[in-house]
C-alpha cells in the first residue's frame, strides 16, 4: 500500500510546529503543547501525552483539511500514559484511594478517547507499542487501516520523557503526526524491508525520534528511503516518493 501524506504535525519543545522544525528550531523552548483540538474542558484533564498527541494530530488534520469527526486514528507510543501511571503508583505508595480520573486516563488509548470525544469521532482508533519498532509498526497499522477502510488515517507517534525513578538520562517530549490518504497531492509513503543505510541523526532523545527523520524526508518530498529502526540486517524503512 502506498499512501499520500496529505498533512504533517509536530510538537517538541524546540520545534512546536512543522514550520519551526523546518526553520531549524526555536531558541527558547515552548513549554506546553496547546492541544486546541480538545477544547478547554477536556484539555484540563488531559495528561502530557494526551496533549502532545492531540496537538500533533490537530496540526496534521488542519494541514490536510481532514475531517476530525471521520478520521481513523492510530497512536504509536512506546511508553504510553507514563506520567499518569506514575501518579497512580504514587497514590498506591501513600495508601490513598486511587483517583478515578487518573485511573480512567491511565490507559494507552486515553488520548485517542479524548480526541474522539472532542471531535465526535466514532471511527475506529487504535494504539501500537513495539519498542524500537514502534514508529514503523504504527505506520504499518495505519497503512493497513487505510487499505481496509479507505478513510483518512492519522498516525501519531508520541512519547513523553521517562519520569523519576525510571529516568536514566534526560529526554524531550515529542509528537509527530502524518495524515495518510488513499490519493491526491502530497508525497507518497510505503514501508519496505531494507538493509539500513545511514539516516541523519536527530538529536531529540525520545523513543519515537525516528519519526523526525521521516518528517524531514517528507518535507523534501522524496525520493528517499528512511530507516525507521536500528539494526544490521534488513529493517523497516519508509520509502518516500514524489
Amino acid at each position: 500500500m502506498t499512501a499520500r501524506v496529505a498533512g504533517l504535525g509536530l510538537w517538541t519543545p524546540r520545534a512546536p510546529s512543522v514550520d519551526a522544525w523546518r526553520a531549524g528550531g526555536l531558541e527558547t523552548p515552548a513549554d506546553e503543547p496547546p492541544a486546541a483540538l480538545l477544547g478547554p474542558r477536556l484539555r484540563r484533564r488531559a495528561s502530557l501525552l494526551s496533549r502532545l498527541t492531540c496537538e500533533a494530530l490537530g496540526q496534521a488534520l488542519t494541514a490536510a483539511g481532514a475531517d476530525p469527526a471521520k478520521v481513523v486514528m492510530v497512536l504509536g507510543s512506546v511508553r504510553g500514559e507514563l506520567e499518569t501511571t506514575v501518579a497512580l503508583l504514587d497514590q498506591l505508595a501513600r495508601g490513598e484511594v486511587l483517583s478515578p480520573a487518573l485511573f480512567t486516563n491511565s490507559v494507552q488509548n486515553a488520548a485517542l478517547g479524548l480526541a474522539s470525544i472532542a471531535a465526535g469521532n466514532r471511527a475506529p482508533s487504535t494504539t501500537v507499542a513495539a519498542g524500537p519498532a514502534t514508529v514503523a509498526m504504527a505506520l504499518l497499522e495505519g497503512l493497513g487501516l487505510l487499505a481496509a477502510r479507505g478513510a483518512d488515517v492519522a498516525v501519531v507517534l508520541a512519547d513523553e520523557p521517562l519520569p523519576a525513578p525510571f529516568a536514566g538520562e534526560p529526554g524531550a517530549s515529542l509528537a509527530a503526526a502524518l495524515l495518510l490518504r488513499a490519493g491526491g497531492p502530497g508525497p507518497g509513503l510505503r514501508l519496505v524491508r531494507r538493509a539500513a543505510s545511514a539516516t541523519r541523526a536527530v538529536d531529540v532523545a525520545n523513543p519515537v525520534a525516528p519519526a523526525l527523520a521521516l518528517v524531514d524526508a517528507l518535507l523534501v518530498g522524496g525520493p528517499a528511503v528512511v530507516a525507521l529502526e536500528a539494526g544490521d540486517d534488513d529493517v523497516w524503512c519508509a520509502e518516500v516518493s514524489p
Binding site: T85, A93, A119, L162
Partner: protein, 393 residues
C-alpha cells in the same frame, strides 16, 4: 459465508484452569473461578476480600536466559503460549519465521513488577537493580518474550486499548494477512492481577463485593480477573474462522459507555458489514457483560437494537472475572468452543434476570448449532470491538 481466516490453534488460561481443556470443562460444568484472593497474593496486592479470578497453582518460571522478563504477566503469557507451541512451530516451518506476525493485547503488561519496584524506591530511595523497565514494565516486553519462546520473527506490536485490546489485535492480524505482509499471525491477550487495576476499579466503586453477576436484576459490579489467551491464524488451514473484526469509538465519555450502546452497536454493525453478513446470521453473542449496572444496560440495548431479542447471549465474566486486556482473545476462544461444539454456555449469575435488559440471556446451557458467533469487547476511552467468528468451512 465469507472465507475469513482459519484459526488453527488456540489456548486460554485463567481462573477456570491452567489449560484450555480445564477452562472449557469448568465452563461446561457452570463452575465459577471467582474466589477471594489467596493470602499471599492478597497481601502482595493489598487487596480486600472481593472475589477475583486468579489462575490456580504456581505460574511457570522464566526459562534460562529470559529471567529479566520475569513478571506475573510474562508467566501467564508463558503458560498460555506453551499450549500452542507445537502448532506455532509448524506455522514457522510452513510459512517462514519472518512471515508469522505476533500481536498481543494487554492493558497493564508487567506493571505488578513496576508497582513493587516503585513502592521499594519510595521506602528505601533506591530502585531495585533487577527492575528492568524495557523487559518488565514496557508493553513490548510481552512481544519480545513471545518472539523469544516461539521463534516467530514477523512484524508485531502490542495493542493497549484497555478492555478491547486483545479483540482489536485480531483485526490487526487480518489486515496484515490481507495486505500480503504475513501468512500467519500469533495473536493473543495477557493481563495479570495488579494493584493498579484492583485499586483503580475499587476507586471507581464498580467492584462487586460478592462476585459479578452480569445481566442479573441485582447485579452490583464487576470482578477483576487475570489470564492469557492465544490464537494462531493462518492464510490456509483447517478450523473455525475469523470472519471480521468491527471497531468503533463511543465518542462519549472516558470510562462510561454511551447510554444507548451506540458505539457497541456501530462496532457490531461494522463487523457484519465487513463480513457481508446480516444480523439474522448471528447465532450467539458472547457479550462483554461486565456486571456493572450501566455497562450491561447499554450493551443489552445495543444487542437488542441490532440483533433483536431472540439471539442467545451469554457473558462469561462470572466464570473468569474481567480479564481486561486479555478479555477479547479469551472470549474469542469461548466463541470458538460454541462454534465447534454447538453449545451456548450458561450466562453464570444472570438469575434472577434483569427484566429491563430485553435480550435473550442464556440463563442455562443451551445445545444449539452455532454457525456464526459474535463476541464484543468494550473498553475505557470508548474503544469498542466486535469479533465475528464462523464455523469451519
Amino acid at each position: 459465508m465469507p472465507a475469513g481466516l482459519p484459526i488453527t490453534a488456540r489456548s486460554a488460561v485463567n481462573a477456570l484452569g491452567r489449560t484450555t481443556a480445564e477452562v472449557l470443562a469448568a465452563l461446561d460444568a457452570g463452575r465459577s473461578g471467582l474466589a477471594p484472593l489467596p493470602g499471599d497474593l492478597r497481601e502482595a496486592l493489598a487487596a480486600g476480600d472481593a472475589p477475583c479470578g486468579v489462575i490456580p497453582g504456581d505460574l511457570p518460571a522464566l526459562p534460562r536466559g529470559l529471567e529479566a522478563f520475569d513478571t506475573r504477566a510474562a508467566r501467564i503469557a508463558l503458560l498460555a503460549l506453551d499450549e500452542v507451541a507445537g502448532p506455532v512451530a509448524r506455522a514457522v516451518r510452513r510459512w517462514g519465521a519472518g512471515r508469522v506476525a505476533v500481536l498481543v493485547g494487554t492493558s497493564t503488561s508487567g506493571i505488578a513488577r513496576t508497582e513493587a519496584a516503585y513502592l521499594g524506591w519510595r521506602r528505601t530511595g533506591a530502585l531495585d537493580p533487577a527492575f528492568d523497565f524495557d523487559r518488565q514494565h514496557a508493553f513490548h516486553a510481552l512481544l519480545d518474550l513471545a518472539r523469544a519462546v516461539t521463534g516467530v520473527r514477523g512484524p508485531g506490536w502490542v495493542v493497549s486499548t484497555a478492555c478491547s485490546s486483545s479483540a482489536k489485535v485480531l483485526g490487526s492480524a487480518m489486515r496484515l494477512v490481507e495486505q500480503g505482509l504475513v501468512d500467519a499471525a500469533l495473536v493473543g491477550g495477557v493481563d495479570s492481577l495488579c494493584r493498579t487495576t484492583l485499586h483503580g476499579f475499587g476507586g471507581l466503586e464498580v467492584v462487586s463485593p460478592r462476585g459479578c453477576r452480569p445481566f442479573a436484576a441485582d447485579r452490583d459490579g464487576m470482578s477483576v480477573g487475570e489470564g492469557g489467551a492465544f490464537l494462531l491464524l493462518e492464510r490456509a488451514g483447517d478450523g473455525p474462522r475469523l470472519l471480521a473484526v468491527g471497531e468503533s469509538q463511543d465518542a462519549h465519555h472516558a470510562s462510561a459507555p454511551h447510554p444507548e450502546g451506540l458505539g457497541a452497536r456501530l462496532a457490531m454493525t461494522d463487523a457484519l458489514t465487513r463480513a457481508g453478513l446480516t444480523p439474522g446470521d448471528v447465532d450467539h453473542v458472547n457479550a462483554h457483560g461486565t456486571g456493572t449496572r450501566h455497562n450491561d444496560a447499554a450493551e443489552a440495548r445495543a444487542i437488542a437494537d441490532l440483533l433483536g431479542a431472540q439471539v442467545p447471549v451469554a457473558s462469561t465474566k462470572a466464570y473468569t472475572g474481567h480479564l481486561l486486556g486479555a478479555a477479547g482473545a479469551t472470549e474469542a476462544v469461548f466463541a470458538l468452543a460454541s462454534l465447534e461444539r454447538g453449545v451456548v454456555p450458561a450466562s453464570l449469575g444472570a438469575t434472577p434476570l434483569d427484566p429491563a435488559v430485553g435480550i435473550a440471556v442464556a440463563t442455562t446451557r443451551l445445545e444449539r448449532r452455532c454457525r456464526v458467533v459474535l463476541s464484543t469487547s468494550l473498553g475505557f476511552g470508548g474503544s469498542n470491538a466486535a469479533v465475528l467468528l464462523g464455523e469451519a468451512a
